[in-house]
Subunit: 228 residues, 4 copies
DNA sequence: AATGAATGAGGATTCATTCAT
DNA sequence: AATGAATGAATCCTCATTCAT
């Protein structure tokens, strides 16, 4: 780490990117205030000065780090949502799978949530940006899907139409669960999604006495993810 | 203003309590690392030294602050859950109302969640304690209630039985929403709970062709909160 | 200097004053930017932190240091000028003696001038304050004295009445001389003042052929200072 | 703005000179310690590295900058003084005019004085060089002129003969005035010189009762500068 | 109990300087 | 000749912690 010194391994193509990724790790581990830029530098294999060559302040490093790690998510969410097709139940399930993957299972999505919650007061713009560019569009897509499902006669006209957040919330719970317990008290994601989907579709209450009330959901493909 | 300041002379006999409450405010606003014990002291109207008379370190102040503000919640949750009665749908609704109040609407509950998420890495015991003493018992109570509801024929036997967290998750969403947006992008809590309850009970899908599938939920009392 | 450590020699009555005097020495030696507050602290026998206990920033230390060392001069100038009496030639001579003492011979006066010249761009208020509170009143007193001398028939009505700075300028020269050369290329202050006074009174040109044109100045007491 | 920037391609052949002139501006504005070589470079339109190609250290840049801007003054002073002719009163007046121009009115002369005062401790050689090459010769010329004037019967034999600095001092005052106040509290240079000349020639005191004591100075040409 | 003065380790930031290209 | 990337020592400032009173 402090090898023969002098080894200025320069022109490493994407120093800023490397720095931001190292910053992600350090900020995720210690939080904004307790992170030392020196440790970020050490992780990249450069010195403090190098970071200041690329970024004006620690705040700037943090801000750009969030942009850096968020962009791929933003992009993928956008294109995924645009590409949804098929029956609405199927679409919904696909959306849930996707959502869980990005917001709960992927470390970046999880930690971004931690950053927003923990450092939101210091970086209010960041929070607003995520609301505007990520949350609002996503919820709107959800709402449209539900509305279309209702029109198509697949879904009930529920007040949930006003609160697509409700559909979103189990994924958030998993996200927070992970943030809190990491790998202690693990939850089986696949089973959790299945359970949400079942509950979401048919609810808790005994729906009368009919023989085949659960048809629709029963036919749906379960979460395609096999590894979890 | 800094005359013989008699207001300060009250010698509340509860200096430690005062300090912990001031600490709550400061830690909530700035996070652990960025909070200055001096500001906590100033808020109480004493000097830093006084804090060190009662608490050994800053970490200790934080830890005891969490205990201090959590205890009333712990207690109330315990006794509330023990006192639930009546039809299970009604109990569930009551539990939801309660949950929302403590985890989302009350500032203390909200901020404790922020502390756990933001500082969990630094205070792992804290997180474990909340898991053990708050979350697990609460989820267990939820599960028992659902199980009893199923036994009583009121509820379907859903896989949600394994994941009572699902029922808990909208409250968490509201909690996080508040942590992120404070009073920007407000959500109407009463309508939100109603929506959750409706969805939770009857689900999204058109439940076959039966004539009266939604009876139960229709009869349930709506949220008792009148102001929202 | 780094003795047995722990010797917190506290309550030293006038810590702020001590710090400002140490600061004067360090700033005088190195200039504002090149002075290390740590060296100031070392000079007092405390640590950096102590300085920040009393002063918010380095700029503040500098600013207050100037006030601290300037005040006695301001005060003495004010009271001295107010107390002048006697024939105007005598008064003028006394004023010159006084002026030289404060602006040129005394180290503080000299160094304050250096600070104003060297750091004026960074501390414009400082410069304005000295202009307003020191320079303007002093020049005004000078002017009044000359005007009174003219009225009394002792002085010629010269255009110098508009520029009392002219009378002031040799003292400034000595000041700057000292700032530049310290004790190299020394000038004998007493002789210098005598020379100024002679020149000031009677000028360079041969004043006609009269036998006793220089009476007045010839009778004046020479500078009373004997040590220089 | 940062297109192929052709303006920069002029390859002035005098990069060092450009750098030194940029350095003059930056050092004049911020002082030695607070000047960043990077800003000097930016002013020239090159990078820091380029400066280090021509100069070994920052101190070297400063030192050579002073030489660079002083040389023209040195040269002009030398040749001007050598060329003086005519009655001594006229010569004196011409010398004063010249002096004021170089030491007070011209920015370079003024700022060099600031450098000497502010950074003399760090660059003692600089100060000595100016003393030896500029101040001493100039004062010597002044002294010779006065001595010759006395011999010629134009001037009185005053002790000022020992201190030609006295004649120099109003110009210094104007210089310092400018350094301190820039364009605040302006002084009319022409009137100031006239006043000095009047005072210098005939002094303050009522010169006996003679009828025509002021002949000489009255006939002298006033400052040749017409605009002031 | 409480204060106020003091400490000193620690971290953000700056910038003269280096050097491979 | 000139650049751009990198270094690392230096310095300001902060703040948890200590302790005599």
């Amino acid at each position: 780490m402090n090898a023969p010194t002098k080894a200025r391994m320069r022109r490493k193509a994407d120093r800023p990117g490397e720095i931001l990724e190292a910053a992600f790790e350090e900020f995720a581990k210690h939080g904004y205030a307790a992170t030392r830029l020196e440790d970020v530098a050490k992780r990249v294999g450069v010195t403090k000065g190098t970071i200041y060559f690329y970024f004006e302040t620690k705040e700037r490093v943090f801000d750009e780090m969030i942009r850096h790690v968020s962009r791929p998510i933003f992009d993928e969410v956008t294109s995924f949502v645009a590409a949804l097709e098929g029956p609405f139940g199927v679409r919904l399930r696909a959306l849930l799978d996707f959502l869980f993957r990005f917001i709960a299972e992927e470390r970046v999505g999880r930690e971004v949530m931690r950053f927003l919650i923990a450092e939101g007061a210091r970086f209010p713009d960041l929070v607003e940006r995520h609301h505007r560019e990520f949350l609002v569009p996503f919820l709107e897509r959800l709402r449209e899907m539900i509305a279309a499902g209702i029109k198509a006669g697949e879904f009930r006209a529920t007040p949930a139409l006003r609160y697509p957040e409700l559909i979103f919330s189990p994924a958030l719970l998993l996200n927070v669960w992970w943030l809190l317990f990491d790998d202690r008290h693990q939850i089986d994601v696949k089973m959790f999604i299945d359970a949400q989907f079942d509950l979401l579709m048919d609810g808790l209450s005994m729906g009368g006495l009919e023989s085949e009330p659960k048809r629709l959901s029963a036919k749906l493909p379960r979460s395609g993810r096999s590894k979890a």
